[in-house]
């Protein structure tokens, strides 16, 4: 077996230098310390992304992106297509788990200061990937064309209309007209299966390349312990030691997805009807709830400005600050942990959790 493996490797090496890849894998190591567990969440997010791509391709075989057919085609997938229910449920559950693991990955990177010099671009590419993942969630939510998704998209795209000057234009661009119609569905489908995957692939390649180039970051506290001689630098080979552990995590994720799909199949709801009154309890997906709840608490106007506009501006500004945090917290690059930025992270995490919990009450 080992001989066959070496012969294949040799064959590949003679053609495109696969030995370099093996060499890279052989020498790549992962730092080992008490925070190592957080390294697994990046790989887990990547695994779930792959699941999304695979199940998404299978769904594409039957899905029809028109207002007349979308709901019925999803209904056909879950009732008539062999294992269609499993593919659709895994796609929906995996999307949600991916958002969750992406958030865990982001906050772990933030609190371990892994964004500090020289990994600023790794952070920025990761943040842009997170925004794209949220875009996947928002555009995918509408695709089954059910009542809840229809009205949630109406509310969600309405928000875009509050942006000063270009708001109206963005709203019409997103909806393909002034209202949420079949044109919006076709457009969202285009974003979901072409535009966002294209952008995600580019950013993912960049993100992974940077991770390989720069290696995994060691938290400042661990670095300090090593520098002060209180701890020894430890690491494990990426291949196969870390990868095998990663695969264990992926198996756990696969089992969880299967269990969720079999025990709690993702519900389809009722077909969207633009002329029906909006149902009670319209809400966006859970990862947008903190923004939704904040806007609900705001009065109609603050001063002379619409509170929606002010809320969106505040979230936009917060997102921008979060995106450029490696440049604001530049001292972290010199191994100095600023309490302000750690506090900011705790506040952001706490705010999102509390607001989401209040929205779910």
């Amino acid at each position: 077996m080992a001989e066959l493996y070496h012969r294949i490797l040799k064959w590949l090496d003679e053609r495109f230098g696969a030995g370099a890849v093996e060499d890279f894998l052989r020498h790549k190591t992962v730092p080992l310390h008490r925070y190592t567990i957080w390294y697994y969440f990046g790989g887990m997010t990547l695994f779930l992304f792959v699941i999304q791509v695979l199940t998404g391709i299978l769904l594409l075989l039957y899905y029809r992106p028109t207002a007349n057919d979308a709901f019925e085609s999803v209904q056909y997938i879950v009732t008539q297509v062999r294992f269609g229910w499993l593919i659709r449920s895994v796609h929906s559950w995996s999307a949600n788990l991916m958002v969750f693991t992406a958030f865990v990955h982001m906050f772990s990177v933030y609190f371990l200061k892994a964004y500090r010099k020289p990994r600023e671009l790794t952070w920025i590419s990761g943040m842009l990937l997170l925004f794209i993942v949220l875009g996947f969630g928002f555009s995918g939510y509408l695709l089954p064309w059910n009542t809840l998704a229809f009205f949630a998209t109406k509310v969600g795209t309405d928000m875009a209309g509050f942006v000063p000057i270009v708001g109206k234009w963005i709203l019409v661009f997103l909806r393909g007209g002034p209202e949420v119609t079949g044109a919006t569905l076709t457009r969202f489908f285009g974003f979901h299966v072409a535009v966002l995957p294209g952008l995600a692939t580019l950013l993912l390649a960049m993100h992974l390349l940077l991770v390989q180039q720069l290696g995994m970051s060691v938290p400042p506290s661990v670095e300090r312990s090593i520098a002060e001689g209180r701890a020894q630098p430890r690491s494990m080979p990426f291949f196969p030691n870390f990868l095998l552990r990663d695969i264990i995590g992926w198996y756990v994720a696969l089992g969880t997805l299967g269990a969720l799909a079999a025990i709690f199949p993702w519900e389809l709801g009722t077909k969207a009807d633009a002329f029906a009154p909006a149902p009670a309890g319209i809400h966006p997906e859970w990862y947008f709830l903190f923004m939704f709840q904040t806007l609900k608490y705001l009065p109609a106007k603050i001063g002379f400005i619409d509170s929606e506009l002010l809320g969106l501006m505040a979230f936009g500004l917060a997102g921008l600050v979060w995106l450029v945090v490696p440049f604001l917290d530049y001292k972290a690059g010199f191994g100095r942990v600023t309490r302000f930025f750690t506090g900011l992270g705790v506040f952001a995490l706490g705010y999102m959790v509390v607001m989401s919990a209040l929205a779910l009450r």
Partner: protein, 415 residues
Amino acid sequence: MRKTIPSLVVLLVAIASPLAAAPKNSCLTCHAELEGPQGEPAKKFPSDVHNQAGLGCADCHGGDPQDDSMTAMSPAKGFRGAPKKTAIPEFCGKCHSDSNYMRRFNPGLRTDQLSQYWTSVHGKRLRQGDAKVAACVDCHSVHDILAVTDTRAPVYPTNVATTCARCHADAAYMKGYNLPTNQPAQYAKSVHAHALAQGDTSAPTCSTCHGNHGAAPPGVSSVENVCGTCHVINQQLFEKSPHQAAFAKMGLPACVQCHSNHEIVPPTDAWVGVGSNATCIQCHAAGDKGYAAAQRIAGDLAKLETFYQRAEDVLNTAERSGMEVSTPRVELVSAHGDLIKARVEVHSFNPGEVQKFTDEGTDISQKAYQAGVVALRERDTRRKGLGVSLIFIVLAIGGLYLKIRQMESTPANRH
């Protein structure tokens, strides 16, 4: 001087204009100062629909509202004063029966109330001098009369029963009329009162069946017409049924015989058949044709109800398990429609006709039930599949764990 005169005219017009806009009403000015019954009309009148239409005291009571002295209320100035109870209908009818006059305020307003009133039991008795019966003001109030469309009006649909009950539920007041006083309490328990309480103003109240101005109890022969104004199909089926002739011959009121009159509670399937709660056995006995028909209709209804409920239960279970059963669920709606149609068809008292609907509904219910069973079977298969997959996943995880341990057991491969 030439310049001064036009200026004075302009000034006088300017001062006089607001006075001209609010016509003088000495009646209100004086009566507002009075205490007790004489002061009450002035206090109530601002909210009165007549006041809002621009009418004043003198339009009903005569007199001169421009006159501040007591002579304003002299017969010479047309003062009619407050009418006696027996004169009230004509007093109100003076305007309300005049189409030309009423058209000025509302061209769609009826003007036959007075003539209808004289045909009512109230009107007839009033003519005979009975001042206890209801006249216009007893139902509509006086001096603070509200439009019928005003939800606060005593004659607004949701308030009618309470207004009638003021007299008809008062045993002492109704003494001597030989009428029961429990109708309002009975009506309050009815399906109609519940529908009205829930905001359905099309649901019948006292005046819907008895008439309002021409209020009278419907005669035995006209009961089905009264109910049939809303329950059209039921009436048509009843008229074609053998019961109509039989009821007429026996002098029985149509609908009321089974459904009661005021306490019309929601009917149940138990009313049909030969059980202890069945109405059919009031007249039919074992061995007669009607008894057998009642038995068959009840059996068919019960069969459909059972099959429908069974299908509903299995689909609910499948839905709670997350299974997609919206198509059989939609189909089952038509089975429920068949159940409703069969219940209506009961009024034909023809078992064959009822069976057409129950058979159709039973067939649909069975198909929906089968779809639910298939969905539950599918759910179980999925769970078994999950169990098997999880075993393989756990085995794979175990294998990987052992591989890592074995790999890292050699000092060279330790971290």
